[in-house]
C-alpha cells in the first residue's frame, strides 16, 4: 500500500480486527503504521517508506506498462458516486496495477544488483542497511 502509514491504515484496522481478531501492527515513533501483519498469512507494508516517491513518479522511473492515471478527487461526493463509478474503477485499477508493477520492478532490480529481497525490508533505510550488510 502506498502511504499506508500516512493515510490508508486507519481505515482497515477495524476491518482487520473484525476478520482476524489479533494482528500485529508495527508503528514508528509518531504512531504512523509501518506494517500490518496477519500471522502466517500476509504482511501489508507501506511501499512509500521503501520507495519514497509518488506513485506517478515511481511508475515513470520504473517505466511500468500501466502508468498511474489522473482523477479529480475533488468532484467526488456521496451523491455522484454512481456517476463516477466506471471512471473511478478504471483509475483504481490503474493505481493497483501500477503499484504492483513498480514493486515487482524494484524487487527484481534490487535483487539482481544486490541479492537483497525488498520484501524483507520496511523502509528505504532498512533496505540500504541490508544492501550494505550483504554486499560490503
Amino acid at each position: 500500500m502506498h502511504n499506508l502509514g500516512g493515510f490508508d491504515a486507519i481505515f482497515i484496522l477495524k476491518t482487520l480486527a473484525s476478520l482476524h481478531g489479533k494482528f500485529n501492527i508495527l508503528m514508528d515513533g509518531t504512531k504512523d503504521t509501518i506494517s500490518l501483519s496477519i500471522k502466517n498469512h500476509c504482511v501489508i507494508k507501506d511501499s512509500y517508506r521503501i520507495l519514497n516517491g509518488s506513485l506517478a513518479t515511481l511508475s515513470k522511473i520504473f517505466n511500468v506498462p500501466v502508468q498511474k492515471s489522473q482523477f479529480d478527487h475533488s468532484k467526488v461526493t456521496l451523491n455522484n458516486l454512481a456517476d463516477i463509478r466506471s471512471e473511478l474503477i478504471e483509475y483504481l485499477n490503474k493505481d493497483l496495477i501500477s503499484l504492483v508493477d513498480v514493486m515487482i520492478a524494484a524487487t527484481l532490480n534490487i535483487f539482481k544488483i544486490y541479492q537483497v529481497d525488498v520484501s524483507e525490508t520496511y523502509s528505504a533505510s532498512s533496505l540500504a542497511m541490508k544492501i550494505f550488510r550483504t554486499n560490503f
Binding site: D8, I12, L19, L88, I89, L96, V100, S119
Partner: protein, 315 residues
C-alpha cells in the same frame, strides 16, 4: 459507525486470494529454498550486548551519636541497603544529602550546597587541597576506601583498567583539564598507581568557587562498568530468491461535511514475480453493497451530514 460493507468484503476476499496464491506458488516453488537473511539476523541477536544495568538509588542518613552514615537504598533488597559507613574524624556536620547510583560505569558525580546562597551547585570541582582536605577525604573514603566498594571495584574494574570511566561535573575548563588528567585513564595501571593518580588529579584542581567551610552538603553518584561484549554488524548472506508474492492495495475515500473520511472504493492486485503478467485483481465499490446511497449515509454518519467534495488522498 457500522462496518463498511465494501471494505469488509474487500479485505475478506483479499485474505482468500492471498491464501490461494500462496498455495499455488508454494506448490510451484516447493523446491526453492527460502531466503536465508533471517537466519543470519538471528545469529546477530545471539551475540547482542549483555550489559548488567545495576542501578542503586537512595540516600544516606547520618547518625551523630555513632558518626555513621547509613545508606538507605530505595530497594530494600539491595545488598547496599543499610550499609553503614563510619565517618569518624571527618566533619560530618557538613554532610547532608548523598545520592548513590551504581550503573554501567564508575562515575563520581558530586554536587554540593554552599552556605553562601543555599542552593545546590550542579557542577563540582574539588576544592583547593588546603581548604578541602576533609571533603576530599570524605569523598575518597566513601568512594574507594570502604571495603564493599573496594570489593566491587576489584570485581568489575581491576580486571580491566581500560574500563574505568570516572567523570565529574565541573564548571570551568581548568577543572575539566585537571579532572581529565585525574580520571581518564586509557592505559593499564596497577590499583595503587590508579589511586595515586586519582589523588594527584584531585589535588591539582583549582578555581574552586567555594571552600569546604562553605559547604553544607554534597552528593555524589557512583557508576561501575561491566565490560560488554562488542557487537559486530555481521554480513548478511545474499537472498536466494526474492519473495515471489507481491500485491497492492488501495482505498479511495470521500469526505463528509464533518470531516469524516469514508472508504467508498477498495481494490487489490496480487501478482507473482515469476509470472507478473498474470494478476489477481478485484475492486469493490460501496454502491454494490447498499440498496441505495442513502444507506451509505446512514451507515457512515446517520445521514446527518450533506455530501461534500473529497480531497485527493495522500500518496
Amino acid at each position: 459507525m457500522k462496518e463498511n460493507p465494501a471494505l469488509l468484503q474487500a479485505i475478506n476476499t483479499l485474505n482468500q486470494s492471498v491464501s490461494q496464491l500462496k498455495e499455488s506458488v508454494q506448490s510451484i516453488n516447493a523446491s526453492v529454498p527460502p531466503s536465508s537473511n533471517k537466519d543470519v539476523d538471528k545469529d546477530v541477536d545471539k551475540v547482542d550486548d549483555v550489559i548488567n544495568h545495576q542501578s542503586q538509588q537512595g540516600h544516606f542518613d547520618y547518625n551523630e551519636d555513632t558518626s555513621t552514615l547509613t545508606w538507605i537504598d530505595n530497594n530494600p533488597n539491595n545488598p547496599f541497603h543499610n550499609l553503614n559507613i563510619p565517618v569518624n574524624d571527618y566533619n560530618t556536620n557538613q554532610l547532608g544529602e548523598y545520592t548513590l547510583i551504581m550503573d554501567s560505569f564508575i562515575t563520581a558525580d558530586i554536587k554540593y550546597r554552599s552556605k553562601r546562597d543555599g542552593i545546590w551547585v550542579t557542577s563540582l570541582g574539588f576544592p583547593h587541597p588546603v581548604n578541602t582536605t576533609r571533603l576530599t577525604h570524605v569523598a575518597w573514603f566513601v568512594l574507594f576506601k570502604y571495603p564493599l566498594f573496594i570489593e566491587i571495584y576489584h570485581k568489575y574494574v581491576s580486571k580491566n583498567f581500560n574500563n574505568v570511566v570516572t567523570t565529574y561535573a565541573v564548571e570551568n575548563n581548568s577543572q575539566w583539564s585537571q579532572l581529565n588528567y585525574a580520571l581518564n585513564r586509557t592505559i593499564k595501571i596497577t590499583y595503587e598507581q590508579w589511586i595515586n593518580h586519582w589523588i594527584e588529579g584531585i589535588r591539582r584542581l583549582a578555581d574552586m568557587p567555594y571552600t569546604v567551610e562553605e559547604l553544607t552538603a554534597f552528593e555524589f553518584k557512583l557508576y561501575f562498568t561491566v565490560e560488554s561484549k562488542r557487537r559486530f554488524i555481521k554480513p548478511l548472506q545474499p537472498s536466494q530468491n526474492p519473495n515471489p508474492l507481491i500485491g497492492s492495495l488501495d482505498i479511495e475515500t470521500v469526505t463528509l461535511s464533518n470531516g469524516e473520511l469514508i472508504p467508498y472504493a477498495i481494490g487489490f492486485c496480487l501478482s507473482n514475480l515469476e509470472h507478473p503478467e498474470s494478476k489477481i485483481r478485484k475492486t469493490y465499490y460501496i454502491l454494490d453493497y447498499l440498496e441505495d446511497t442513502q444507506d451509505f449515509k446512514i451507515a457512515s454518519t446517520g445521514g446527518a451530514h450533506p455530501p461534500v467534495a473529497c480531497p485527493p488522498p495522500a500518496g
